[in-house]
Amino acid sequence: MNGKSEALNGRTAPKPGIGWNEIKAELIEFFASIKLAMFLFLIIAVMATIGTVIQQNERADVYIKEYGEEAYRWFLRLGWTDIYHTWYFTSLLALLCINSLTCFYQRFPAIWRSMHQDKVSVTLPFIKNLKHTTELSVAGTKEGVSKGIVQYLAERGYMVLAKNEPGEATLYATKGIMGRVGAHMAHLSATVIVTGGLIGSLWGFQEFGVCLEGQTYHIPKGSFDLRIDKFWIDYYENGAVKSYNSTLTVLEKGQEKMNKTITVNDPLVYKGIWFYQSSYGDAWDQVDVARVNVKDKATDKILQTVDLQWKKEATLDKLGLTVTLTDFVADFGFNSAEKKVYSKSVEHENPAIKLAMAERTRKSALEATPWIFYHYPDLFDIPGSQYRFELVGYQPRKFTGLQITKDPGVNIVWTGSTMIVVGIALSSFIYHRRLWFKVVPGKPGESTVTVHLGGSTHKNQIDFNKEFRKLTEKIKTINA
């Protein structure tokens, strides 16, 4: 802003001295300054960039592999592995809020005043000193020309104030104050958004649930239950995944309260808690079907191939076998202390199934519960049995991955977001301009008046230039 605009704004420079008023004025000046805003914008941008180049919230070994251990230690010290939640990043955001609030405090009152102020009392030198100024000789009377100008401006959306004195008529026209208001709205909204975000992070939660079809899960934070009725995947013709969907039922004390099929982009909301279809995957402790080859131990020939359903007994009469698929792990691990088998990870690295088999042939009669390994078919030998089992394939049970969140601050963030978009739009498309006129009657006997006009604009000189020129042209022929 140039010096003239500052004077028109009504701000005064801080007076020298060491009293509290002076300190307060200095502080406000600092915290409301544009330079601070620029600095904050840019330094937050730089910090944010760091977080995109260095992967955030990764495991230690990922960083060490990419950058080395020394660099990783520095990252930890600087907080660069989770930069958006460091104290300094949060402080910068807080400072930005303080900056915008102080700016509002310092400058908005003047805007408010100028919206309601009588600015008609200006002097001729004032008009002559404006950036756009000109002097015209127009045919007509003081009253007639003034009326013509007022009408023309009013038609074009200006608010016009007029003062008619015997010696001269003074007119003041203004338009587009909403552009200035918009900027202040945007400033306030930054704080609203940050507040909403803060509330969400303090009092909200985000959890991920791995859920199986047919199961019911208790949601402690909402004290209700969620039953997964169905989960399925739809495919395009070319085999790519089109959508994955879960049908959910909300139960409260056994009563069905709500039923909805969710999919990506279409969550279920109950009691302020949102359930999103986030992902899906293969379960690590269940399969739907396992394909097993029954081989003759002596000749290693495949005697029969059978698809075993989960926990359903299959009878193979010709071989004298009954087999049941009783357990599955995706990544076989054995806890020797508790003598329990478990899955080391969710990845299907070392899958194995457990069978409960009973054999009754002419040559053998036994029962066993062997583990059969997908990658190590020859590992297990069932002593006394004629047969060897081989796991050749399986269809894993799919789980549906649900993201469960609650964010009490989200509506505040939307309010602030609307404010900021409206505010920025107003500020960008509407510009505040003001025009002053002095219509001075000519000497007695002359049929012309002299019109002194001047104008100033807050921004958008190029369009105001054109508008001023057009106005000048129009006034030349304004009829009395």
Partner: protein, 304 residues
């Protein structure tokens, strides 16, 4: 799909022709010297043209408009093909389509600018960027140009609003970048002294500066809106309106950079040359946000 690819191809050649014509226009212009000497604004609009320059200028505009219509047809055809293939029709559903859409928006913005201010020399810079954008799109490997059905996360009505608004803001920033470059070229001509022909042919610095500022004033609210729409979509799809993923963060970075620009304009000494350099820099950041993030950084948003 072949139909739309053909139309996109034609668009590229038309934009190439338009760009060449605008460059030729700059070199052929001899504005009436008396107009130029007086600093009359008519000297850099079409008012100051004579003979060959007028003709080249007119053909340039016609080819540009025709190219834009071809671009529109290409986008519509692609939308129709998508609808038949997979049930959604946003013709900005992958990197190639998005680039083509941005070119379309840049050229549309330029045409509107030319009709309003009649300064055809701007075409050499802004249509140039539109042409380069379309060219870059054409250079993408074929597998990026096909209309594959959308993955579940993108399969939502949000793609119609969030993506289109954000891409349009990129187009506005591209125009500002082109104008910033034009400013620097003109300024250099000024430093070389009165001998430079460009001095008479290109508009005065204040005009170029203002137009660049206006372009950013269009892009900035659109980007804000686009980011908010993206946050709303994320809230429906991923369970949270902001997760600091590289694309989200980079669009915020771009927004902060232009936010700083807007505040800088109100500070003395930041109009003119600094603003022009800034506008070019901002545009480079937009390119990284649009292109670089998809190909160089990983994350939920890497939808090339």
């Amino acid at each position: 799909m072949l139909r739309s690819l053909f139309l996109f191809d034609m668009t590229f050649w038309l934009y190439l022709a338009a760009f060449s014509l605008y460059v030729a226009y700059v070199f052929v212009r001899k504005p009436a010297m008396q107009l130029a000497a007086a600093g009359h604004p008519g000297s850099y609009t079409t008012e100051g043209d004579t003979g060959l320059a007028t003709q080249i200028g007119q053909v340039a505009t016609i080819i540009t408009v025709f190219g834009w219509m071809m671009n529109t047809a290409a986008l519509f055809t692609r939308a129709f093909e998508r609808m038949q293939h997979s049930g959604t029709f946003a013709p900005w559903s992958n990197q190639f389509e998005a680039m083509s859409y941005v070119s379309w928006a840049i050229i549309l913005g330029y045409v509107l600018l030319e009709f309003r201010y009649r300064i055809k020399t701007i075409g050499a810079f802004v249509v140039g960027i539109g042409f380069i954008a379309m060219g870059a799109a054409s250079l993408l490997p074929y597998r990026y140009q096909t209309a594959e059905p959308l993955v579940p996360a993108l399969n939502s009505y949000w793609i119609y609003i969030h993506v289109s608004v954000t891409l349009t803001s990129y187009a506005a920033f591209a125009m500002a970048g082109g104008l910033g470059l034009m400013y620097l070229v003109r300024e250099r001509a000024e430093r070389q002294g009165q001998q430079s022909r460009l001095l008479a042919v290109l508009p005065d610095l204040e005009t170029i500066d203002e137009l660049g500022y206006k372009a950013i004033m269009v892009g900035f609210p659109m980007l804000a809106f686009g980011i908010i729409l993206g946050a709303m979509w994320a809230n429906y799809a991923w369970g949270g309106y902001w997760s600091w993923d590289p694309k989200e963060t980079w669009s915020l970075i771009v927004w902060l950079i232009y936010g700083a620009y807007i505040h800088a304009r109100m500070t003395r000494g930041w109009e003119g040359r600094r603003a022009a350099i800034y506008a070019v820099f901002g545009f480079l950041m937009v390119i990284f946000c649009f292109w670089g993030v998809n190909f160089l950084l990983s994350g939920l948003h890497a939808y090339a």
